[in-house]
Each structure stands twice: as C-alpha cells, then as structure tokens.
Amino acid sequence: MKIMNCPFNGPRNSSEFTCFGPVRPPIDPDTADDAAWSRHMFQLDNTPGVIREWWRHTPSNYFFIAERNTVTDEIVATYEPAALHGKAITPKEITPKEIMP
C-alpha cells in the first residue's frame, strides 16, 4: 500500500487522497484573451518530473500541496498551502536525470 503524508492527519493510505491538479499561477479573466483563458480552463502541461499539485485528504476535506514526480509517481514532499506564500508556484526545474528512469 502506498503511503502519503498529509500535513494535517499524518501518514495515510493513498486511497484516502484525491488529486486536484497542478498548482498554476492565477489568470486574470478580465485581461486574458480567449486563447489564454481556454488554455487555462481546459489544458494542462502534463510536465514530466517533479511538479507541485493540489491534493485533498478526502475524509477530512483538507487541501494541501504535494510535490510529486509524474514519471516515477514518487511523492517528494507535502506541506500546507500557506507554505506557498512567498514562493514561486511554477514547477521545479526538471533535469534529464529526473525525467529518465
């Protein structure tokens, strides 16, 4: 069984969690053109390597941030959303070593 560490509830089975997609910079709907808005709403980057994602611990409805390697499915780190403040919310730089198993 895969274990994920919830910042609020501690280590739990992965079956208790739901992924809510990558953390992305906000977009201003008043200034974005149609193409940019459409891309924001309906398309994801599908970046290989370590990315930041929103996750929810379903039984407690607690949302948090996880850094996950999309190639190996390894959870690198989890932390409270407040930790995002003051941090850039773009995916980490990916090196070829991280991409290739």
């Binding site: 609020f8 089975n13 079956s15 611990h57 039984p59």
Partner: protein
C-alpha cells in the same frame, strides 16, 4: 420562544429509534465470531459548528477547545471533537444526558454574533455508531488502515480516515467502562456500515 422542531435523519424514526439503545452484540455469542457490541446513537443529540467564527464563539463562552484531531471535555456534560481549525463537533458526555448540548444549541441559535460559524447539521447527515467489546481492536484492525491499537490510539484521539471503504471519523471513546470507538459517517450508508462490521465479526 417557540420550541424548535427536532430534526431527524433522512431515513426517519424507522431507522433511528428515539431512545438511546443498549449495546448489542454484532453476532450472537452462540455463533462464534468476535465479541463486539454496537450502539446506534444516530438519534442522539450532537451539534456541529463549522466556518469562520465557530471556534471564537465557543471560546467566548468559556469552552477550552482541544487541538485539531483531538477530543476533550469542555464542560460538565459536553465534549468537543475538533476536526479542523473551524470545524468542531460537540457531543454529550453521556448520550442519556443531552441537556448540555441542547442548551448550547439554543444559545447558538439565538446568538446575534456576526461570526458564529454555521450549523453543519451533523445530527442529520452523519450516523453515529459506538462499537466496543473485548475484540473491538481486532475488528477495527481489519477494516481501518490507521493503527488504532489500545496503547497507540489513546482515549481522546481522533482519526479522520476510512472504515469499511467509507470516509469515517473515528474517535476513541471509552463508554460503559470499556474501550471503544465512536464512528461518524454518511448517514445514508448506515445499513452498509452495520452489515460490513457484522460480516467481519462473523468471519473471524
């Protein structure tokens, strides 16, 4: 003031009898299986407050709320289970004596505070089972992924996890002199939860 009509579960009184039931074995002693008892406390009073101002309103009344994922006594007849910073479930210390919860609910309903949280309707949306008995730890080890062992999950601990493949809040609550757990989960899955626990207790 006109008395508020008491809310009941969506399944009505036919599901949750108004009286506090006595513990009953999940499986008869004559048929073997685990010695685990179940009390369906769904009809008993409880109060869930959630949202901005909920903890502040309770603290202003002198109730010392516990930390998150803990249960603690906050008055003579009321326990508080903190599920989040602004998500609190208030339970009667004894289901037979709901006076403290009823008074708290009445005070909250007439309070004019701008921020006092909102009623999360836990008495309607969540079933409340209490399971106990000598084999309760064995039973829970088969259906809950969290280590709820006697020495690991002490009285007052709270786990928001899964039981019987369903989201469930497990509270270590030693009632009737023995160790046990309060389970809170989706009220519409009550029959499934009872059947699942019964099958597990029978097969062991």
């Amino acid at each position: 003031m006109q008395a508020m009509a008491k809310r009941r579960t969506p399944l009505g009184l036919s599901y949750a009898p108004p009286n506090v039931p006595s513990p009953a074995r999940l499986v008869p002693a004559t048929s073997g299986g685990l010695d685990v008892t179940l009390r369906d406390l769904t009809a008993c009073d409880r109060l869930g407050l959630k949202g901005r101002g909920a903890s502040g309103w309770l603290s202003a009344r002198g109730l010392a709320l516990p930390q998150s994922n803990c249960r603690a006594a906050v008055s003579a007849h009321v326990d508080a289970v903190r599920l989040g910073s602004e998500d609190i479930l208030l339970l009667p210390r004894s289901p037979e004596h709901p006076e403290g919860i009823q008074q708290l609910r009445a005070d909250w309903q007439v309070a004019t505070d701008v921020r006092k949280g909102f009623d999360a309707l836990r008495e309607e949306t969540w079933a409340w089972f209490h399971i106990g008995g000598p084999d309760v730890f064995h039973l829970m080890s088969m259906t809950c992924p969290v280590d709820l062992g006697l020495e690991r999950f002490l009285p007052g601990r709270v786990a928001q996890t899964r039981v019987a493949q369903m989201d469930c809040i497990v509270v270590r609550s030693d009632r009737a002199g023995g160790p046990g757990f309060d389970l809170f989960f989706d009220v519409t899955s009550s029959a499934f939860m009872r059947d699942s626990l019964t099958v597990l207790a029978s097969a062991s």
